[in-house]
Symmetry: C2
Subunit: 330 residues, 2 copies
């Protein structure tokens, strides 16, 4: 089925907006840009994982999305650039620095560029746009905010760590007691974020970690309101398949914040945000319960092992949105 998103849309007005984290979002978006014109897509990307390393501003999710859409992601690691080296972090290790965040050399160049441009007064959104253009990416990459929005994970015993410390340094332990998104909740939306939502005909919620990737975006003041005010259907893709995340610590973070680790649990957690949901064949038995929440459900192969599966998942999500929009018009 041909999508209703096409080059006929006014240039500069993204018709499709996706809320995005890192790996899962990036794999899904590489499908989206096969189904609709890349320049009709805007990804609103989580910046809660951003952190300074060696004084350099690293934006993991912005870069994972950009590199993936550029076809340059290191697919094995899930982040960084394919074929990159680690001479810089190896050199820093020799000089006594912690190097648990394995920043590659070319990847560091992106972050160094970001840091230089920030010091020159450029905004994170303009810089993300420079980077995606340099990498030949047609889809817009919009940071959810230009303010620092660090996500903190609280653990048993009162420990509190930055999300990247939780994930990359500490190996994502299971004793999560709370996730602190207060910085996001006090931030200003990034340039273009609210406009993109207002102009969108379709909103997709990527199969990202609901707790630390999508929720930070929703916490930014104005984002939920813009989604509610929009008539665009909001369709999600479940990041949980058969009771487990495809990648990353979503299970530990969902459990730690009181959500059942299942496609149903995620749908319940998103509450009235979603109008539709794509779930995996493995979770077909959950479809009735999710439909009972008022969501249009599509059961699909959602493990995006290659770009053609990504395209199929994207097509399904966009078709649900198109059906919902057509239904609303009737």
């Amino acid at each position: 089925m041909a999508s209703q998103h096409g080059p006929s849309n006014a240039p500069g007005r993204p018709a499709l907006v996706a809320l995005a984290g890192g790996v899962g979002a990036a794999r899904f978006l590489r499908g989206v840009v096969q189904v609709v014109p890349p320049d009709s897509v805007a990804a609103i990307v989580n910046t809660g994982d951003d952190r300074l390393f060696y004084g350099v501003h690293v934006s993991p999710d912005l870069d994972i999305v950009t590199y993936t859409l550029a076809g340059e992601i290191d697919t094995e690691r899930g982040y960084g650039l394919a074929g990159d080296g680690t001479r810089v972090v190896d050199g820093l290790a020799k000089l006594g620095h912690e190097t648990w965040f394995r920043l590659g050399d070319r990847d560091l160049a992106t972050s160094l560029h970001r840091t230089v441009r920030l010091s020159e007064g450029a905004g994170l959104a303009a810089i993300a746009d420079e980077v995606r253009r340099a990498f030949g990416v047609g889809c817009r990459i919009l940071p959810m905010s230009e303010d620092p929005c660090p996500t903190f994970v609280e653990l048993s015993g009162g420990r509190r760590v930055h999300f990247e410390e939780y994930l990359a340094r500490d190996g994502a332990p299971d004793d999560v007691t709370r996730v602190d998104l207060e910085a996001a909740a006090a931030a200003t939306p990034g340039p273009g974020v609210l406009d993109a939502i207002a102009a969108a005909r379709t909103v997709l919620v990527c199969p990202s970690n609901p707790v630390v990737s999508i929720e930070p975006i929703l916490q930014v003041p104005g984002v939920r309101g813009a989604l509610r005010a929009s008539s665009a259907p909001v369709v999600g893709v479940s990041p949980i398949i058969g009771g487990a995340p495809v990648k990353g610590p979503a299970d530990r973070l969902l459990r730690g914040t009181g959500t059942e680790v299942s496609a149903l649990g995620v749908a319940q957690r998103y509450g009235d945000l979603l109008d539709g949901f794509v779930i995996d064949h493995a979770d077909a038995d959950l479809a009735p319960a999710i439909e009972a929440l008022g969501l249009r459900v599509r059961v699909e192969e959602t493990l995006m092992r290659d770009a053609s599966i990504s395209a199929q998942v994207a097509r399904s999500a966009i078709e649900i949105a198109d059906e919902l929009r057509a239904g609303a018009r009737r």
Copy 2:
């Protein structure tokens, strides 16, 4: 002949001080540390070439000396680390940055360390000490100053560029009209610099560029006075062989600042700084004229193609100093 510098010196009191620039100094110093114990040597190093690249504090001469003494210098390029890569600058080029300064990846790690530590409040001298220890270098590396001391080169037509722009970006053009060392002339000597000179039994002036490597050190207030106040003989090694520099633009800078490009010209330029001078066989005919300036001269093979020649040049310079000291006692 056994040197009079030995382990008998009080620890922590360098007995031999060398004024040093980059490549020529480094090759000479790798000889010095074969002749006397490395921990009895302090190199006072030019920082006039220091410059921020991408917000990162690069200290070319400090690092060239350190890497050379560590046996890790890229001998072909004369700077940077052997076997290093250029993924970071390649990545920055893709993002639109100028990359005429070909900073290697591991080399960048050193400068990133310096930048982080500076931002934490550490001084350039403490950082140089951290770096040389991490590289297993026994010789002390003392920045001439911790203040910014940029050397500017003025060219015909009123152009004025930072020394690294002159050298690495513009290819060292021949129309030098003046060298501006005003920043060095207003700087405070680095920690340990004046103490090291005061405690030295021997001062060596490395075969570095007299105009932009040695002169900046001499311009730092207090350095010339400390050298004059010291009873240590000061022995130089000519950076000019047969009327040409071994490496770099010393010819253009000497000419542009009114000095004949010869071992004699350099000796005249240094004036009463030197008590002795090692010159090359190629310049043997200049020995009488240099001796007529009141200097003790040794004619030697000074093209330091390998470490054993470096050791022989160092031995000659130290022997001249020993002879001068013995003569002074008589």
